[in-house]
């Protein structure tokens, strides 16, 4: 398969689109957790109940489609190869828990992969909307519409006092998790992140690495999300997160300005060295690749590099994950082989940029 064709299949349309503030905010995500009242939660439900949940959603889709989602596709986890699940996970469309530990887990995907509804994960239903750039409110109103559409046909577990009932008490109330993926190399280079993270935590928000809980902040990419789901309205939760993200954006911008003023040539050197590594290396580990990609993306944003498209970071961060590399190779790869594959995929991708400019 040619890289171009593979990429077209691999990259969700939202990934290549540009959103507001997309020089710093890569994507915005809203997740709503819902359960159907008459069935036990996934930790204890029987296989029959699990199947009934899937049937219920299936019936909903068949009877009245939700026009904004376009053509929807239902993927049953049991029917997928481990590698296919891994690829969906690396695209953030399903969670590791759904891929590995769910019984009768499934996922309902919208055509452009902006919406993915996980079924029988920790809760019966998890509506997830993923938008490019800084678009939390837009993602929330989409998620709300899907929630209303599903509710027309299902009795959700809801309590007047404590709101939507979820399997884990950390999600009860709104069942809402709002998060943004941010690229913050300026704050890392100026060593401000260690000071900022505790301050954000105090506001009831959490900062994590790119693949969620317990993952490392590869390539200076951080995920900021709300912790509290009870006692505040959905709009307030999103507004609070938005105001913190806006502050982070302006801090990151001023850090970049300061860097340009105080260490312009050092920064330019760093950017082009990383570009050199990416376009020439024959073996590259994921950590090094992520760091170099972050440098190059910073170089593009700060206009040291002018002839490469901006979404190269978002794209290659995902394409160089182990699952994608193996899918591209057409079979399983050992870690060492992956590093070789990764290097060649990145070289090829950068060459495509040159051709586009030439042609």
């Amino acid at each position: 398969m040619s890289l171009e064709r593979f990429m077209n299949q691999a990259i969700s349309s939202w990934m290549s689109a540009e959103g507001p503030d997309s020089d710093i905010v890569l994507s915005s995500r809203i997740r709503l957790a819902r359960n159907i009242k008459q069935y036990k939660f996934p930790t204890l439900f029987s296989n029959e109940e699990a199947e009934a949940v899937i049937e219920k959603i299936k019936a909903r889709v068949e009877h009245s489609s939700f026009s904004k989602m376009g053509q929807m596709e239902l993927l049953l986890m049991d029917n997928l190869q481990p590698l296919q699940k891994r690829v969906l996970m690396e695209k953030h469309l399903i969670s590791p828990h759904l891929a590995e530990n769910s019984t009768y887990g499934a996922c309902l995907l919208s055509e452009n992969e902006e919406v993915s509804i996980m079924i029988n994960e920790e809760d019966h239903i998890r509506i997830q909307c993923l938008f490019p750039g800084f678009q939390l409110s837009e993602a929330l109103s989409m998620a709300n519409e899907i929630d209303d559409w599903l509710e027309e046909d299902a009795d959700f577990a809801f309590d007047e006092n404590i709101g939507f009932l979820t399997s884990c008490p950390t999600n009860v109330g709104t069942g809402l998790r709002a998060s943004v993926m941010m690229h913050l190399p300026g704050l890392i280079l100026t060593q401000q992140m260690n000071r900022i993270i505790p301050a954000i935590n105090q506001l009831g928000l959490v900062v994590r690495g790119i693949y969620g809980e317990g993952s490392e902040a590869l390539g200076n990419i951080f995920q900021v999300s709300n912790q509290i789901t009870l006692g505040k309205s959905e709009e307030d939760i999103v507004e609070d997160l938005k105001s913190v993200v806006s502050q982070l954006i302006s801090q990151e911008r001023s850090a970049r300005e300061a860097l340009a003023k105080t260490s312009n040539i050092q920064l330019e050197d760093r950017v082009f060295r990383s570009y050199g590594i990416l376009s020439n290396s024959r073996i590259i580990e994921s950590k090094e690749a992520a760091q170099c990609l972050s440098d190059v993306r910073l170089g593009i944003d700060m206009q040291y590099i002018k002839n490469i498209s901006k979404n190269i970071l978002n794209e290659l961060m995902i394409l160089t994950q182990p699952g994608f590399l193996q899918q591209y190779a057409g079979g399983p790869l050992r870690p060492h082989e992956r590093d070789i594959r990764r290097a060649s995929l990145i070289r090829e991708r950068l060459k495509m940029e040159d051709q586009e400019l030439g042609g």
Binding site: I162, P169, T170, G214, L230
Partner: protein, 182 residues
């Protein structure tokens, strides 16, 4: 201070355990603490996740209540009728079994929710349109009743009369809805 277990290394971890109102203090070095298995709350290895933290958080709960409550009450195992999850099981996994668990463990749950959601224990967000129908009406009515009180206090009787009519209308609607639901 020197570790009370090995009497060699300096004690870096200081625990205070309260069991049935009895306080026991221990001062250990990291190595001995790990061996004694008291590190689980502090370990930051790959297995450490929010679940461990949550389970730890919930575990503190019974200690508080045991000392305050009648010792005979402990014998009764709290169990959800719907899915037969016990409170002990819930503490272990940090997950509920079904929607009724929230009702069954209501008393134990409130302080936990407050701790998890920085002091909040009641929902003020979205109400589902269909099943939440009467909740919407009731919330509206509570608001109107409050307004009515305000208006009477301010002696704005004209506005108060309007509000009274609105409340009557809502009451009728509520009654009709409830009959329709039965």
């Amino acid at each position: 201070m020197i570790c009370q277990e090995c009497n060699q290394r300096p004690a870096t971890l200081h625990f205070t355990k309260v069991v049935n109102g009895e306080k026991a203090e221990s001062h250990l070095c990291e190595k001995c603490a790990q061996e004694k298995g008291e590190m689980f709350m502090l370990g930051s290895g790959p297995g450490f996740s929010i679940n461990n933290l949550l389970a730890g958080l919930l575990n503190i709960q019974p200690a508080f209540q045991e000392s305050a409550q009648d010792p005979f009450q402990q014998e009764k195992v709290l169990q959800c009728e719907q899915c037969s999850l016990t409170f002990q099981q819930f503490i272990k996994v940090g997950r509920f079994g079904c929607a009724s668990c929230y009702e069954t463990f209501k008393e134990q749950l409130n302080p936990i929710l407050r701790r998890l959601h920085s002091g909040n224990s009641s929902h003020s967000g979205k109400i589902p349109a269909r099943i939440g129908g009467t909740i919407h009406l009731r919330r509206n009515m509570d608001e109107l009743k409050n307004n009515l009180k305000d208006m009477i206090a301010k002696e704005e009787f004209e506005r108060a009369a309007e509000l009274r009519d609105e409340i009557r209308k809502l009451e009728k609607q509520l009654n009709a809805d409830q009959k329709g639901g039965e």
